[in-house]
């Protein structure tokens, strides 16, 4: 979870990393009461990077310019994100700008210190000067000094810069940060040091340790609070041309199903994972039905979805629950689905209908009136074929315990 600049700076202030006096603005009219002396820099408070190049940072000399600039910034989305606040900060004359960061390296399983003498907005220049120090064991000040020297600092600058790195490290440990960055860290002609911009990413999974940070992050966020581990979640896989929705109890298996469909020249569209919290291994009957229903609804929200490929682990009572979940989401009764191999191509939703459906906001229940219910193939991993065959089935669903046979069933439906 990313903190906004002003939130990051609040943390910097807590540990004694120097930041400029600033003021938070959420209405351009507040600029008239600005306490920060001109010239001032106004900065859009968004989580995405690159706001400088996108016009989210403006320098102003007086109140009239400031009000106009504030209005412009508050109405300017940065990569789709509108700022709710802007930060007015005193302008600072830097002689040198450094880049400093600390991040967790998953391959090394260590925290690494990063630094570049060429901080600022030019990413290529910044990277060309990048130096790295791996903190091998317990942290000690010399790691920070090593970074300062590696990036080419000398004499009087080594100590104050390494001191900043040490304070950043302290924050990273104290607050379970994924990463902390200061860019630029300005050094003035007189040797004064100032953190002009900061980026702090809190580890979502460590949320439980730091309720304060999460309160901070969710401030003014219109209910956009991310839960840490959702139990049902959509995968980011998207194929806009696809017509098969996959509902599955694990990401690795879902990937296999996607590949098998693709190799058979089928068009998987998207995928929903259920039971992520328990690796798809354990559901109460209620939760299984509930997650199946919500997963189906999410997949069927795209009118292009003509097929549902459901793949979960077999258990004896699950066929009943799957049928109940499907029956509660889809209504098969008005016109039963045709037998496999049957041709009902003409009755499928056309593209025009699809567009119409997409435009009109549909209440949830309207899935029941979905013109032609999607074809549904259920593959039960580890399924006992005898038991599967002997169980009574109410709905026109294809059942199998063989992944490739399931793919062929979809092939045959076409």
């Amino acid at each position: 979870m990313d903190l906004l600049e002003y939130q990051a700076k609040a943390l910097f202030r807590e540990v004694g990393i120097p930041v400029l006096p600033s003021q938070l603005i959420d209405d351009p009219r507040e600029i008239k009461q600005l306490q920060v002396p001109y010239p001032v820099v106004l900065k859009s408070q968004v989580r995405t990077g690159g706001r400088g190049k996108a016009g989210g940072i403006r320098f102003v000399e007086n109140t009239i310019d400031a009000i106009a600039a504030a209005q412009a910034i508050l109405n300017l989305p940065i990569v789709g994100e509108y700022p709710q606040l802007l930060l007015a900060e005193a302008r600072y004359q830097a002689q040198t700008e450094l880049f400093l960061a600390i991040t967790f390296d998953y391959r090394l399983q260590r925290l690494v210190l990063l630094g570049s003498k060429r901080g600022g907005m030019d990413v290529e220049a910044l990277l060309s000067g990048m130096q790295k120090v791996v903190v091998e064991d317990d942290f000690s000040s010399f790691y920070a000094r090593r970074l300062a020297v590696k990036i080419g600092l000398q004499g009087k600058l080594v100590s104050p810069v390494s001191d900043i790195v040490e304070k950043m490290y302290g924050l990273a440990i104290l607050k379970d940060l994924d990463s902390i960055e200061i860019n630029p860290l300005a050094i003035a002609e007189n040797g004064e040091i100032m953190a002009l911009d900061g980026k702090v990413t809190v580890n979502d999974r460590a949320a439980i340790y730091h309720p304060d940070l999460f309160d901070l992050a969710q401030l003014r966020e219109n209910g956009n609070n991310r839960s840490t581990i959702a139990t049902r979640r959509p995968l980011t896989w998207q194929n806009p041309q696809g017509n098969i929705g996959i509902l599955c109890d694990g990401e690795g298996v879902a990937a296999t199903i996607w590949d098998l469909l693709y190799q058979q020249k089928q068009k998987p569209r998207n995928c929903q994972i259920i039971g992520a919290k328990t690796y798809g291994k354990f559901f109460s009957d209620y939760h299984l039905k509930d997650e199946l229903e919500r997963g189906l609804e999410a997949l069927l929200a795209a009118p292009e979805t003509e097929f549902i490929f459901l793949d979960i682990l077999w258990e004896e009572n699950r066929m009943k629950i799957i049928e109940a979940a499907i029956a509660s989401v889809l209504d098969f009764s008005p016109r039963p689905i045709s037998k496999p191999g049957g041709d009902d191509r003409n009755e499928r939703p056309t593209a025009a209908q699809s567009r119409q459906q997409r435009r009109s906001p549909r209440p949830q229940q309207s899935l029941k009136s979905y013109k032609t219910p999607p074809k549904i193939v259920v593959y039960l991993r580890g399924g006992d074929s005898e038991v599967m065959n002997s169980q009574p089935k109410q709905l026109p669903i294809q059942w199998t315990n063989n992944a490739e046979a399931a793919i062929l069933l979809i092939n045959n439906e076409k």
Binding site: Y106, M130, G252, V253
Partner: protein, 322 residues
């Protein structure tokens, strides 16, 4: 676990502890493990000492459990992510030499401390986010779905619970049994890896061939790069998710910078990288679980005829099928 015959050990005599036994997944898993004959002797559930779960006595502390049941061979840990470091430290303080971490999503700094301590202590850690180990019809340690597995001579190593079950099921249906299946875990960082387990499987007499199961964007390593030198048993790789459209990571400048200079994403190894590693190592790649079954079947047949041939000279045909 050196010099062990993993798939042939006398598992009945080995005492297994379950930490976090009061978690819903643990309750479900303990019943299944007991049914399978796993010798679970005690559980730890904070505040639930004195109770019984699926016939297993529950204690508040690991040391209380140890006092009662004496030496424990392994602990399987199900506690919530924020309690995992404590659970591991408690197990190590009680000298339990092997740990399976079913728990996933461990905060990174806890994870860093955990693995550092485990290494210093020479504790073997499987996971986080591991489904554990199954030796078909001998022992179930964790949450693999037993009905997908059948005894045989193929060892499976993977990093995804579902995929392990899926491939085992495909092999079982194709008449190919398994000597053992090991889930390294899909955690952001894991303890023991492909090379550690391959070293053990090299000595396992029941294991005649090995399948490494990989998934796109799982881990930061490529299994084929991690095969110990001069490895004699035939190895095959299956990579799931080769055709899955992977969204690019965040376009955020900060993250791009960090990811250019460090491995700041937990799972960054692409299917292409994994396949390229197989190509470099000359490891045959299966395009699907059923093709993997066919490759393994051929390998097991030739295993009977000629003694053994090093994998590096094995034919490249299967890779070309892709």
């Amino acid at each position: 676990m050196n010099n062990e015959q993993l798939s042939m050990n006398n598992w009945q005599s080995r005492k297994i502890l379950v930490q976090g036994i009061t978690e819903p997944l643990a309750i479900h898993a303990v019943a299944k493990m007991k049914d399978y004959g796993t010798n679970i002797v005690a559980g730890v559930g904070i505040g639930r000492g004195g109770e019984e779960i699926a016939g297993v006595p529950v204690f508040d502390l690991v040391e209380e459990a140890i006092a009662k049941v004496e030496t424990v061979y392994m602990s399987i840990i199900f506690v919530p992510p924020n309690q995992i470091l404590d659970a591991v430290l408690e197990a190590m303080a009680a000298n339990i030499p092997r740990l399976i971490l079913v728990t996933n999503h461990i905060p990174p700094l806890d994870m860093m401390r955990l693995f550092r301590k485990a290494k210093a202590n020479k504790t073997v850690v499987l996971g986080g986010g591991s489904a554990g180990i199954i030796v078909p019809e001998r022992v179930l340690l964790g949450i693999c779905e037993a009905r997908c597995y059948t005894p045989g001579n193929v060892a499976l190593i993977g990093r995804s619970t579902g995929l392990l079950d899926e491939v085992a099921w495909e092999l079982t249906r194709g008449g190919i049994g398994q000597s053992i299946a090991i889930d390294l875990g899909n955690g952001e960082a894991i303890g023991s890896g492909f090379s550690d387990w391959l070293t053990l499987l090299a000595k396992d007499r029941k294991t005649k061939a090995i399948a490494l199961l990989e998934s796109a964007m799982m881990g930061n390593e490529e299994a084929a790069d991690l095969i110990p030198p001069h490895f004699k048993k035939p190895i095959f790789v299956y990579v799931s998710g080769r055709f899955v459209p992977i969204m690019p990571f965040s376009q955020d400048t900060t993250k791009l910078i960090l990811s250019r200079c460090s491995t700041s994403f937990a799972h960054g190894s692409t299917a292409e990288a994994k396949l390229a590693a197989c190509d470099r190592a000359g490891i045959p790649v299966a395009n699907s679980p059923s093709q993997l079954a066919k490759l393994l079947q051929e390998a097991l047949k030739s295993e009977v005829k000629i003694k053994q041939k090093p994998i590096l000279t094995s034919n490249h045909e299967s890779t070309k099928l892709s």
